[in-house]
């Protein structure tokens, strides 16, 4: 029971790290980006190639996965996404589905369409028994890394100058621009960091989530749930939503395997009907 809770927590933290970038671009910048999972997949594949083919240590590959995905995100934002911010939601959907298709075929062309397994350091396979709870070292690592990241993100958005600029740019881009904030640069940097985090999440989660070219489509709904349910008022909402989703999914698959992912989707529809702006949206927010 507690073991499931622990696994669910690790899973939820992973989802949070992967989806938090989306909660900014989608929730705050109002860009429907269905290709967010492609950045997570990119991070996963970068790690897989680095570790398995080039022999780079796993822990050295993680930051590289972040950097690689962030760079891809930055380049795509500056060259392509910047043109679709102002387009209709339908066009954003079409555009990002196009990117997903390209990413999926591109990856199977470059690396192959079979599932990738990243060689992990041996000690991550350890399991510890704490008070009757079986804790995997790998999941402990995930919770640790993601927990620290969540804290840093929360502080960055709430306390730093950049965080204030981001909030201002999102609340009212025109006025923010008038105050001398480089709104475009703030958005580009945010997009890059969000993509990088997705990539890091993809790298960390490849073992648990499974890494193959269908990754962006398979987890697209999960990311969207995190954002839609978590709302866009800061980082806490998405974090809580991601952890709830992770725990519910693991528990659902364990206790009621015949229903599979059914419960998650049904729950999402109910929540969206009940509170279309998300569970944790601030009153009067957009």
């Amino acid at each position: 029971m507690l073991t499931n809770l622990f696994d669910g927590l690790a899973y939820g933290m992973l989802l949070f790290v992967m989806a938090c970038g989306l909660s900014v671009t989608l929730g705050l910048m109002n860009l429907i980006n269905l290709a967010h999972g492609a950045f997570a997949m990119a991070g996963g594949y970068v790690t897989a190639v680095l570790v398995n083919r080039l022999g780079v240590p796993f822990f050295a590959a993680l930051p590289l996965a972040f950097v690689a995905s962030a760079l891809i995100g930055l380049v795509l934002e500056r060259t392509l996404y910047v043109h679709v911010y102002r387009k209709s939601h339908l066009e954003q959907v079409l555009f990002s589905i196009g990117l997903v298709f390209m990413a999926m075929s591109g990856v199977s062309y470059l690396v192959g369409s079979e599932q990738q397994f990243i060689k992990l350091p041996a000690f991550l396979a350890n399991r510890y028994e704490v008070l009757g709870v079986s804790i995997g070292a790998y999941r402990l690592l995930i919770i640790g890394v993601c927990g620290v990241l969540a804290l840093v993100l929360q502080l960055a958005v709430a306390r730093t100058r950049f965080g204030a600029q981001l909030r201002a740019a999102v609340d009212d881009p025109v006025v923010a621009r008038g105050l001398g904030i480089h709104v475009d640069l703030v958005f580009a940097a945010t997009f890059a960091v969000g993509s990088g985090l997705a990539g890091l999440g993809g790298a960390l989660g490849a073992e648990i989530l499974g890494l193959d070219p269908t990754f962006p489509v398979k987890y697209m709904v999960y990311f969207l749930i995190v954002v839609a349910v978590g709302g866009s008022a800061g980082m806490t909402g998405p974090l809580v939503a991601a952890v709830l989703l992770g725990v519910a999914d693991v528990a659902g698959k364990y206790y009621a395997p015949q229903f599979g992912a059914f419960i998650i989707y049904a729950l999402m529809i109910v929540i969206l009907l009940w509170r279309p702006q998300g569970l944790f949206a601030k009153a009067g927010g957009r």
Binding site: L90, I97, F101, Q258, F262
Partner: protein
């Protein structure tokens, strides 16, 4: 001007825009010619026709109702499974099976239409997506009924109207699909040029103003969503009957995504877009698949990205301009 005169004027202008044009007759004559002259392509053309009907149903939702749906395959799949199961349960008459499947999906559309009434584009995208995934999950989890991942096999519908047996070359299947699509197209055409249809377009343009002039917005959306669901279900049922097989593939996300692409290629909001788009998509897909059978999706994706970046209106202007030239004078 008196009220009666105003109404007469409005009716006259509606009649004018809804008049059948020469290009439309040419379009359907071409389809008939394809049936008569290309018997060895019947299987392919039957698939294109069914997909075209499916895209037409998305056009009703998206092009007329303004609802961005990423889960339209839900209705297609539901119709396919309904038709397959009905046939296996002994309802072997294709038209009866078609009508019952359409009714079942209309019911599904009616129920789920309440989910898309509220909320932003994002909420609608997610809800439609979730409904499709949910149905796929159900179909996957009850293999005793749906055949699960193996698909529903042994669907053997009887002869159409008791006369024409389905043949392996797809000739009867194509004729049957084409006839059904034509009839449904006529109904849809009558529907969208009616004052009722125009009021749905008004809802798409501006919900607030539309409700201000006394049009019940929610009810209009429910009607168009239900109708579109029935159309998509009919398309799915046609696929099940003509291919005599249903697999989980009918509910896949790719189907919904590709459908949207077809409709956008063909152009939204004039009903022919879906039919033309389905044909163009198939031609493009085949052309690319001949060059790179494994990675054709990459090029389709690239096409989408370019399409959006250049701007749909600019691309849509090209066939419109051609049509106008065909018609002669600009209306």
């Amino acid at each position: 001007m008196s009220r009666a005169e105003n109404i007469a004027l409005a009716a006259a202008s509606l009649r004018k825009v809804s008049a059948v044009r020469a290009a439309e007759i040419a379009f359907w004559l071409a389809a008939l010619a394809a049936f008569a002259l290309l018997p060895d392509q019947a299987l392919l053309l039957s698939e294109v026709t069914i997909t075209g009907l499916f895209a037409l149903s998305l056009d009703l939702v998206l092009g007329y109702g303004g609802i961005v749906s990423l889960g339209h395959a839900a209705f297609f799949g539901a119709g396919a499974y309904a038709a397959g199961l009905l046939t296996k349960m002994g309802v072997t008459d294709p038209l009866l099976g078609l009508a019952l499947s359409a009714a079942a999906t209309a019911l599904l559309g009616f129920v789920t239409s309440f989910l898309v009434l509220r909320g932003s584009d994002l909420t609608r995208i997610m809800v439609t997506l979730a409904v499709a995934v949910l149905l796929k999950e159900i179909a996957n989890r009850i293999p005793g009924i749906t055949g699960g991942a193996d698909g529903l096999q042994g669907v053997a519908p009887g002869p159409v109207l008791g006369i024409w047996e389905f043949d392996i070359f797809g000739q009867v299947g194509f004729g049957y699909s084409l006839a059904v699509t034509f009839v449904l197209f006529l109904i849809a055409r009558r529907f969208v040029v009616s004052p009722f249809g125009w009021s749905i377009r008004a809802v798409k343009e501006n919900q607030l103003r539309t409700s201000a002039i006394g049009i019940p917005v929610s009810r209009r959306l429910i009607v168009v969503y239900t109708l579109a669901a029935a159309y998509a279900g009919t398309a799915g049922a046609l696929l099940a009957q003509t291919t005599q097989f249903v697999s989980l593939d009918v509910l896949e996300f790719h189907r919904s995504a590709n459908l949207m692409l077809m409709l956008v290629i063909g152009g939204t909001g004039y009903l022919y877009g879906g039919l033309i788009g389905a044909l163009l998509f198939k031609l493009v897909q085949d052309a690319i698949a001949n060059i790179t059978p494994e990675y054709w999706e990459f090029w389709i994706g690239l096409l989408l990205v370019i399409l959006v970046l250049i701007g749909r209106d600019r691309i849509e202007a090209i066939p419109r301009a051609l049509l106008r030239r065909l018609r002669g004078a600009t209306p």
